[in-house]
């Protein structure tokens, strides 16, 4: 039972199918507008709030001056720099990473028809951590295209892990869901074991590895943003194009096939692009947990499981959520940083307890 239930149409016989469909689906654009508003608010807050206090007026002046309106001469150079050079790439990166993780999580849940599914299930997180750890302990420092080797290694580690899981779980042309999940658990455990072994021999660099395993946007740069966009945007386009198809996939695979969907190819495509986007997100932001689970489920609780709305909204709310979490990450312990993955984990626990209670009282899934 959805929280925001539309009222029942009084006289169905007289209603046209068109009108009923609108009533059933609810207004798409106003809701997306709400999501966009939330995201923009989060962006503005992210630019205005931080460990150093800059007045909202000054923040506004700096933003407007870059738009060509107003001047920011009255604002100190340090403040200008912080807002435009430090906070802006950080906020935008958090938005893209949050959107990617939430969108990938929603896609995984739709394809697997399982509320606990998300890319971390098949090894994206543990693979990224392993890749990053290998670079850290090898003490290499070669930079490539303005980016240190670390995000690249994390990305490759994530992809390698997914490839291994997929290869292990494949049965002929099909990839049975249960097998995939089991293979994911096994490969993740192996990655974690290897990572732990490597870390034992190199605890001096533990802080660096923690930034990867717990997530952090402290070192956000424009090049990191440009690194993740070529994966996030095409993935978003492909996934959004398949909104209606993912709805059909929420029936079982047999029915989806009878309705004309090439299930294996569609699964491969959707899981492929969302894993790619998640791997890219993890490689620049670290393995931030719970975003792929909390955001889609929260949206389902309020507005239902229709992927036509769920997928784009997940992107918007995912971005807003992670920006907000990052604000806390850099202000709660100021001037020290808390890894943002810890903040999202703290949000995750009460949320899941709440989900558990709701699941008992009625279906939202």
């Amino acid at each position: 039972m959805n929280v925001l239930r539309r009222t029942r149409t009084a006289d169905l016989a007289a209603t046209t199918a068109d009108e009923l469909l609108d009533a059933v689906r609810g207004a798409l654009w106003p809701r997306l507008a709400l999501g966009t508003a939330l995201l923009l608010t989060a962006v503005l807050l992210g630019l205005a709030i931080g460990p150093t206090t800059i007045s909202p007026l000054d923040t506004l002046r700096v933003l407007l001056s870059h738009a060509g309106i107003a001047s920011d001469d009255s604002v100190s150079t340090a403040s200008q720099t912080i807002i435009w050079e430090v906070r802006l790439p950080r906020v935008l990166l958090a938005a893209v990473v949050g959107a990617s993780l939430a969108m990938s999580g929603a896609t995984y849940q739709g394809v697997f028809r399982n509320p606990l599914a998300d890319p971390y299930l098949i090894g994206v997180a543990t693979g990224a951590a392993l890749g990053a750890t290998i670079v850290v302990i090898s003490d290499t420092n070669v930079a490539w295209h303005g980016l240190s080797l670390l995000p690249l290694a994390a990305f490759l580690g994530a992809l390698a892990s997914v490839a291994v899981v997929y290869g292990v779980a494949r049965v002929g042309p099909t990839v049975p869901v249960t097998t995939l999940i089991l293979a994911g658990v096994a490969v993740s455990a192996l990655s974690t074991a290897i990572t732990s072994y490597l870390m034992i021999h190199n605890t001096t660099n533990a802080g660096l590895v923690f930034s990867v395993t717990l997530g952090s946007f402290n070192t956000a740069t424009w090049s990191k943003l440009l690194w993740v966009l070529p994966y996030a945007i095409p993935a978003a386009i492909v996934i959004l194009a398949h909104r209606r198809i993912i709805n059909v996939l929420s029936l079982d695979e047999e029915q989806a096939r009878y309705l004309g969907i090439d299930v294996e190819r569609t699964k491969l495509l959707l899981l492929g692009v969302s894993s790619l986007a998640a791997a890219a997100a993890v490689s620049v932001g670290g393995t931030i947990g719970f975003v792929g689970l909390i955001v889609p489920h929260a949206i389902r609780l309020v507005w239902g499981p229709d992927n036509r709305f769920l997928l784009p909204m997940s992107m918007l709310i995912g971005g807003a959520f992670l920006i907000t979490a990052d604000i806390f990450a850099r202000t709660l312990d100021r001037p020290a940083e808390i890894p943002v993955g810890i903040i999202t984990a703290f949000c995750g626990v009460p949320f899941f307890l709440y989900l558990l209670r709701r699941a008992k009282t009625g279906a939202y899934w």
């Binding site: 802080g207 194009a241 020290a336």
Partner: protein, 338 residues
């Protein structure tokens, strides 16, 4: 506009952007790449005419242990009373700082094996056995049949395990400040039969450090940011290195965190505007160039005045005789005009 039309528009826009960028390396506001650590003013150890306080490249021959002090009972860092019957001839050191201390007090001949991080002085390269400092193997240690083991770590109750295997173990965890370092050196001296040499070293250290302190007295200490790794982990109150900085009268921007090893936020560093930046992470490829290239960091005082210095972490993090050298190096970085 229907959603799907919007989707097509997004795809078209994205394709246009891709075409326009070509093989752009993303230069719009992003830092340019540097491939090696370069352009950093590394503090030269040979600036002092007298040479380093503890020279790793010079041999440190051992002297005869004084047997008249034995048997001796010392209380180690864990509070355990350890009795040593006679001067040890087969010492295993599981910590680089203690290794340097042993050689400084003339116990070099008594050292049997060291850990994998001990690389100073030159004599250690001749030792055949190496024990892993972070995850030592009990078998490897007992197999050497040492008569004394000195360690700074107690991972997984390893100290108790070694004692259970019948070994004599001195557990001396890393000291939190310079005072504690003197105590540790004295303790090692007592335990190995070189109390007088230990006393002499300590006196020399107190004198040298006293000189350093006097020379900066009355000077206005600069604000600094000490970078431990490239995700902006730093050192703060409670850490050993912070004590070194305090002796030099410098002001640590990480003081307000109250944490010994805090991770600082980029904008907090920029806002604090330190006058000096000390990099302990050159091994990660960080240098003055990479620091200056970070978005927004160019407005920092230290960057504008080119006061970014690399610091060998081996010197700065070992609480042994070389803290004098660490202090000298830091003094040069913080007070270049003295």
């Amino acid at each position: 506009m229907t959603f799907n039309k919007l989707l097509l528009l997004m795809t078209a826009a994205f394709a246009l952007v891709l075409a326009a960028c070509g093989d752009d390396d993303g230069d719009s506001g992003s830092p340019t790449a540097t491939t090696t650590a370069g352009g950093t003013a590394t503090i030269a150890a040979s600036a002092e005419p007298a040479g380093p306080f503890f020279d790793c490249d010079e041999p440190h021959p051992g002297t005869e242990a004084d047997a008249s002090y034995f048997p001796v009972t010392v209380t180690d860092g864990g509070g355990t009373e350890v009795t040593i019957e006679q001067p040890s001839a087969k010492i295993v050191s599981l910590d680089a700082a203690h290794t340097e201390t042993l050689y400084a007090i003339g116990a070099g001949d008594q050292v049997l094996a060291v850990d994998n991080f001990s690389n100073c002085p030159v004599e250690v390269s001749a030792l055949s056995a190496r024990i892993d400092a972070f995850s030592p193997s009990l078998e490897a240690v007992t197999g050497l049949e040492p008569d004394l083991v000195i360690t700074a770590f107690d991972q997984g109750d390893f100290v108790a395990t070694m004692r259970g295997a019948g070994l004599t173990v001195l557990f001396l965890p890393s000291p939190a400040d310079i005072e504690a370092t003197y105590e540790d050196i004295g303790l090692v001296g007592e335990a190995t039969g070189h109390p007088d040499e230990a006393g002499a070293i300590i006196t020399a250290m107190i004198s040298e450090i006293g000189d350093i302190e006097a020379s900066v007295e009355g000077e206005v200490g600069p604000t600094f940011y000490h970078e431990s790794d490239n995700t902006y982990y730093s050192v703060g109150p409670g850490s050993f290195i912070a004590d070194l900085y305090e002796v030099l009268g410098a002001e640590n921007i990480a003081d307000s965190t109250g944490q010994a090893y805090p991770q600082l936020s980029a904008e907090a560093i920029i806002a604090a505007d330190p006058e000096v930046i000390i990099l302990a992470d050159e091994g990660f490829g960080e240098s003055a160039d990479t620091v200056a290239a970070r978005p927004g960091w160019n407005v920092i005082d230290a960057v504008e005045n080119d006061r970014i210095y690399g610091l060998d972490p081996d010197i700065a993090s070992r609480a042994g005789p070389r803290i004098v050298d660490a202090l000298r190096l830091l003094q040069e970085a913080l007070y270049p005009d003295l």
